[in-house]
């Protein structure tokens, strides 16, 4: 057998711990037949003895103060062959490091070394005691010592198994172990302590933090650590056990036995550990130690001793009563039970077991830890425990509990016997009664027989008489049979008729069913056809809108899908969106009921808008006056069609087609007078053009022919004196005064020339052109610019400078095809607008000719154009009875509101997720940095909450929001935000397991109040992977389904408790997408692989798997009616699935 030097060293250390007289026998027993090893260990012992006191002092203590090798152990340092990784614990005298052993084997170990400056004899002795103690023991529940040596500076250290675990009480609470499992775990601890006792070691500091629980193959394994103040039961663990000198207070008060509290070292034995184990079991069961640690901490040393020695702790079941309601509830929840049940579980055996271990007089405690563990085991097996005085009833109750099945069987047999016996007796008595009744019946029968014989004789006499009567009846029967045969024949005839009727009825029913089926089929076909037509039309509408096509055509298509009574409404969001788009750019329009709108004129003060129009050609026109602000109709004048307001706004002039002028008082609209002007014989297509001087009472009037193709004569009248002033021949039928009233500009449509007349002289001052067909002209209010609209094949608006009479810009107006239109300047001459046959309103900036706006949606040819006096709106009229209002500057965006911009700190993480509340008044949105609530009514943020959130569910009453907070998971990644060292350290401290933080901080579900995002509670998710991959809440909010990154399982969590209600194991190795049905019954999952799976959450049936796509599935959505779900894959396809099948 080959033993390493390390093994020899351990054996040497163990031998040193023995009394000198017993060392030889100990070494002989330990080495057995291995003589060589025995020789090596004895040589070591001999050398140790020969070295005398030299080895009794540490190297550092032998150096002069100025020679002391003082240095701190740093991460990465090599101690022996161990590379320091990190410090994982520190006590008063020693420190524990996590280290890597590189050779001869590579493994992660724990290395305990005396702290710098603490290497006094006392501490070294205590340190060696622990090393010896651990070396003596070999138990799966005790940390093994692997190596021991001293650092280069002489500080002794030893290397032991690295225990990655958490305190036993924390483990039990975190995993919510019930009482039974806690006791089972405790028994394992007892076995370890018993082993230590058998090796002659008393731990003396047993407490939860010195018993760590790790998981081996998923099973919890407790490990006893920290034998730092252990003591030998016989002899000494080391020759340097000076630290337990008189009056030193060794141990932890809350777990310290009364004799340990006395500090009489000689009086401490294994029963002290039994007391500490009793305290541990007490805490595991009741959730707190017998004496409140805070009280002990606050008390002085003498008071602590007095409490431990004299005060009797309450039983565990009574201790629960003394807790606050919240603590009691927490203790019960941590044991997966209710407060009442927990008290009942502890009352009785467990109370006695614990209280026996906690006896002040150690002679009344369990003799050994094994007895203690056995008694706990008896409790688990429902056997009588030794801790209780055994009454007969108690033993019987335990017997029954232990042998439940045999006792139940015996009880059943006994019950069967009793019931059987009772039944047998009852049947025997019944049978005896029956026999008695039979005898009585037999006697009665004999009596009746005699009476019957007498009656028979009487009957014989009567029979003769009856035969006579029978012959008579026979005759009557023959007659009746004859009648019956006749009735039978009649019945057959009726039956046949009924049968024929039934057949006819059946045929009718079948025919009706066929008709209904045919009708249903036709209806279905019609609906399908309508749906296809709708889809095709919507697609066409989208194309028309994209190509800026005919908006009225779009509206026509959309109107065709307005549902008629009894028809299904196929319209959806896309219809509404298209309808909105089809409205064009106009703000508003209203109907004038005038057939057409030929002219629009504002009063100088802007209060009134007059429109003229008429129906069919030849009909008399009529004028209507509107309140410009409210669009209310104020007045209507019939048989007149041409309009203008006087410059002072006090009069409205209207002209009939025959040239008769009417004057009306503005406001009261009473007639002021009328007079004839041009001697015109109207033709059906003829109309009158007028213009009024801005500075005088002169009116210019001329008849127009159809579309103004013929030139005309213009008459000038003074409408105040009603006298003719001048007659301008071949002037043209487009009229406009200059602002100073000195000139009248006429457009000759015949020659296409523009004539500028001197009004006072009645002569042409200047001629401009030719410009082709003139449809409309306008002079800017500053008198500087003349605009002429020529709606040719390529329509233009030409500008002239009226001061220099030089031609200015030419503005393109598209194709108007010689249809008439209008041009107008805004009141401040900043804008110039034109509209005509292409139904488009165009606006330019006068000074630069830059297009300002092109507005569509008129629906009809535009003939009249007028700026509102404030210059902010355009009014148009044309070949419809509508007046439309257009904005001069389009709103910045009519549809889209940019609510907020999220910082692009980490583009891959800044995906925004969002959720509307049921009432659609709030939008909850979140990204990597924050969760925010937007009030949709005024588009402001009403609340914020920091952190990386994913909003999942809003309650129907809109008071609760469930959100996944992934802040910690996100922070655990290499985080570019946390660049400074301190932040990184704090983040890692928050997420990596340490002794202080045994488990990483998890992702949490937060239950928040709306709309303020106040935190109601949190539910921690037990991490099974590096972050949540997919998560969704059920529509009823009772569950959350989620998958972890890198894990296939889908977990169903109850949102009220955070408990995992169900674990689904799908076929995918990673789940990417989850979707609940609207009734929360079905869950659809999909991920890596081609399958989607349907899970019925009301049953435990296996899932239904569908081979859905060729590649992984990334998205799933459920329709609100629960009949259909959709899947989308990275193979660039998506599919619809019906859950109800074909009808």
């Amino acid at each position: 057998m080959n033993h390493s030097l390390q093994d020899d060293a351990l054996l040497f250390s163990a031998a040193l711990a023995m009394p000198a007289a017993e060392r030889a026998r100990f070494v002989a027993r330990a080495c057995g037949n291995d003589a060589a090893r025995r020789q090596r260990v004895e040589d070591l012992l001999r050398s140790h003895k020969d070295s005398g006191e030299f080895l009794e002092e540490s190297l550092s203590s032998r150096l002069q103060p100025n020679q002391r090798l003082e240095y701190e152990i740093k991460l990465g340092d090599l101690i022996g062959r161990y590379k320091i990784v990190q410090k994982i614990g520190e006590g008063g005298c020693g420190a524990v490091y996590e280290a890597d052993q590189e050779e001869p084997v590579r493994r992660r170990v724990a290395l305990k070394v005396i702290k710098l400056g603490m290497d006094t004899k006392t501490v070294v002795a205590r340190f060696e005691a622990e090393r010896q103690a651990l070396a003596l023991m070999d138990h799966p529940n005790i940390a093994h010592v692997l190596d021991a040596a001293a650092t280069d500076s002489g500080r002794p250290y030893f290397v032991m198994e690295l225990v990655r675990g958490i305190a036993i009480t924390d483990y039990c609470d975190h995993n919510r172990l019930p009482t039974k499992q806690r006791v089972q775990l405790f028994i394992q601890v007892c076995r370890a302590v018993q082993h230590a006792h058998q090796k002659g070691v008393i731990h003396r500091d047993l407490k939860p933090s010195n018993i760590l629980v790790t998981l081996h193959d998923g099973e919890p394994v407790p490990k006893v650590i920290d034998f730092g103040i252990a003591k030998a039961t016989q002899g000494r663990l080391t020759d340097r056990t000076l630290f337990t000198a008189f009056e030193q207070f060794i141990g932890t008060p809350a777990y310290m036995s009364p004799e340990q509290a006395e500090c009489t070292e000689l009086d401490v034995d294994t029963r002290s550990d039994i007391y500490s184990l009793g305290v541990l079991l007490y805490e595991l069961l009741a959730g707190c130690p017998p004496f409140e640690p805070r009280s002990l901490k606050a008390a002085g040393l003498d008071e602590i001793r007095r409490i431990i020695r004299e005060v009797d702790p309450p039983r565990p079941s009574n201790r629960l009563v003394g807790l606050t309601k919240a603590d009691h509830l927490t203790a019960a929840k941590n044991r997966t039970t209710t407060p009442a049940q927990l008290s009942a579980q502890l009352r009785g055996d467990l109370d006695w077991i614990v209280m026996k271990a906690l006896e002040k007089n150690r002679s009344r405690r369990y003799e050994t830890v094994n007895d203690f563990a056995s008694d706990a085991q008896r409790h688990l097996q429902n056997e009588p425990v030794l801790a209780r005085s055994p009454s007969a009833a108690y033993r019987f109750r335990k017997l029954v509990a232990r042998y439940k099945a045999p006792f139940t069987a015996a009880a059943v047999v006994l019950l069967t016997l009793v019931v059987g016996t009772t039944l047998s007796t009852w049947r025997f008595l019944e049978e005896r009664k029956s026999r008695q009744r039979a005898v009585i019946a037999e006697q009665s029968e004999a009596h009746e027989r005699v009476r019957a014989q007498e009656a028979q004789r009487t009957a014989e006499q009567s029979r003769g008489e009856a035969e006579l009567s029978q012959r008579e009846a026979e005759n009557q029967r023959h007659t009746a049979e004859e009648s019956q045969r006749q009735a039978e024949a009649d019945r057959r005839v009726a039956e046949k008729a009924r049968h024929d009727a039934e057949q006819a009825q059946t045929a009718a029913v079948l025919a009706r069913q066929h008709a209904e089926t045919a009708q249903q089929s036709a209806l279905t076909a019609a609906r399908t056809l309508s749906a296809h037509l709708y889809a095709a039309d919507m697609y066409a509408v989208q194309t028309m809108l994209r190509e800026k096509g005919d908006l009225s055509g779009v509206q026509r298509i959309l109107r065709a899908h307005l549902p008629q009574p009894g028809e299904a409404d196929l319209r959806g969001l896309e219809w509404n969106y298209a309808w909105q788009q089809s409205q064009g750019d106009k703000l508003l329009s209203w109907r004038t009921q005038q057939g057409i709108v030929r002219d629009l004129v504002f009063s100088p003060d802007g209060r009134f808008l007059a429109s003229s129009g008429r129906g069919e050609p030849g009909e008399q026109g009529h004028v209507r006056v509107w309140d410009a602000a409210s669009r209310r109709l104020l007045a209507q004048f019939v048989d007149t069609e041409c309009i203008s307001f006087s410059p002072d706004g006090t009069q409205l002039l209207t002209v009939t087609r025959s040239g008769h002028v009417h004057l009306w008082r503005t406001g009261s609209w009473e007639a002021l007078g009328d007079f004839p002007t041009a001697n015109v014989t109207p033709t059906p297509n003829q109309r009158i053009e007028i213009a009024i001087s801005p500075t005088d009472t002169i009116i210019a009037i001329c008849p127009d022919s159809a579309y103004g193709k013929l030139g005309g004569t213009v008459w000038l009248y003074d409408y105040k004196s009603q006298k003719e002033i001048a007659r301008l021949d071949d002037a043209g039928c487009r009229l406009a005064f200059t602002p100073d009233g000195a000139h009248l500009i006429t457009g000759s449509t015949q020659q296409g020339m523009i004539n500028i007349w001197n009004v006072s002289q009645g002569v042409i001052k200047k001629q401009l052109g030719p410009v082709g067909y003139i449809s409309s002209l306008s002079v800017s209010r500053d008198g500087r610019t003349l605009a002429v609209f020529s709606p040719g094949k390529t329509a233009t608006v030409r500008l002239w400078n009226l001061k220099t009479f030089l031609a200015g810009r030419t503005l393109a107006c598209g194709e108007q095809n010689f249809l008439p239109g209008a041009v107008a300047f805004s009141p401040n001459a900043e804008w110039i607008a034109c509209a005509g046959g292409d139904k488009i309103v165009r606006v330019w900036k006068t000074a630069t000719g830059r297009p300002v706006s092109t507005m569509q949606g008129s629906g009809n040819v535009i003939w009249a154009l007028a700026f509102s006096p404030d210059g902010e709106q355009l009014f148009t009229g044309g070949r419809s009875d509508q007046i439309s209002i257009w904005p001069l500057t389009k709103p910045k965006s009519q549809e889209e509101i940019c609510i907020t911009t999220f910082a692009p700190v980490r583009p891959e993480l800044t995906q925004i997720s969002m959720l509307f509340n049921p009432g659609n008044t709030l939008l909850v949105a979140a990204d990597w940095e924050r969760l925010a609530v937007f009030d949709l009514r005024n588009a402001i943020i009403t609340a914020k909450r920091n952190g990386h959130h994913r909003p999942l569910w809003i309650s129907p009453d809109e008071k609760i929001l469930i959100s996944l907070n992934q802040t910690y998971r996100t922070a655990r990644k290499s985080d570019p935000i946390a660049t400074d060292e301190s932040t990184l350290k704090s983040l890692h401290a928050a997420v990596l397991p340490t002794r202080d933080h045994p488990t990483p901080l998890p992702e949490v579900l937060e239950v928040l109040g709306l709309p303020r995002l106040s935190l109601h509670r949190t539910l921690e998710l037990q991490a099974e992977g590096p972050g949540v991959e997919a998560i969704t809440a059920s529509p009823d909010g009772k569950q959350v389904a989620l998958s972890w990154r890198g894990k296939p399982d889908v977990l169903i969590l109850n949102t009220d408790s955070g408990v995992i209600a169900r674990r689904l194991v799908p076929r995918s190795t990673q789940t990417y997408a989850l979707a609940y049905s609207s009734d929360s019954r079905y869950l659809i999952t999909g991920g890596v692989g081609i399958f989607v799976e349907i899970w019925d959450l009301h049953t435990n049936e296996p899932s239904i798997a569908l081979a859905a796509h060729k590649k992984s599935i990334k998205h799933i959505a459920f329709s609100p009616d629960g009949d259909t779900f959709a899947t989308a894959s990275i193979d660039q396809t998506h599919k619809f699935w019906s859950l109800i099948g074909p009808s």
Partner: protein
């Protein structure tokens, strides 16, 4: 059934009639009954996640253009607004005053809301 650019999000409309998915820069719609494409809403930017409000009046979406992430809200007039306008055009054809309601009116400057006719307006002088 359909090949297209990879989608970033998808959702059935709240009334269940249509199915919406973001493919690149547009929000596309399909009719569930016929599974035919209905068209698309040309939204600004490259669309990430999106959500439809239950009244189908709002579309919230994430604009993933370049390095910026913007939360956008698209308001579409509810059908009641549209229907109101349609009713107006058919019901009041014989009256002298129009009652009109404009889609998207809430986004426009104040003063352009519904024009309610007074009783006296119904009779021309």
């Amino acid at each position: 059934m359909e090949r297209y650019e990879n989608i970033s999000a998808m959702q059935f409309s709240p009334d269940g009639k249509t199915f919406w998915a973001t493919t690149g820069t547009v929000l596309k719609a399909w009719q569930v009954q016929t599974q035919r494409e209905l068209g698309s809403l040309p939204l600004n930017g490259r669309i990430g996640d999106f959500s439809l409000s239950s009244d189908q009046q709002y579309i919230g979406y994430c604009d993933n253009t370049l390095n910026e992430r913007r939360l956008m809200l698209l308001r579409i007039p509810p059908r009641t607004d549209v229907d109101a306008q349609l009713v107006t055009e058919s019901e009041h054809s014989g009256s002298s005053v129009v009652r009109a309601r404009i889609p998207g009116a809430t986004l426009l400057p104040a003063g352009d809301e519904t024009i309610e006719p007074a009783a006296s307006d119904m009779t021309a002088p």
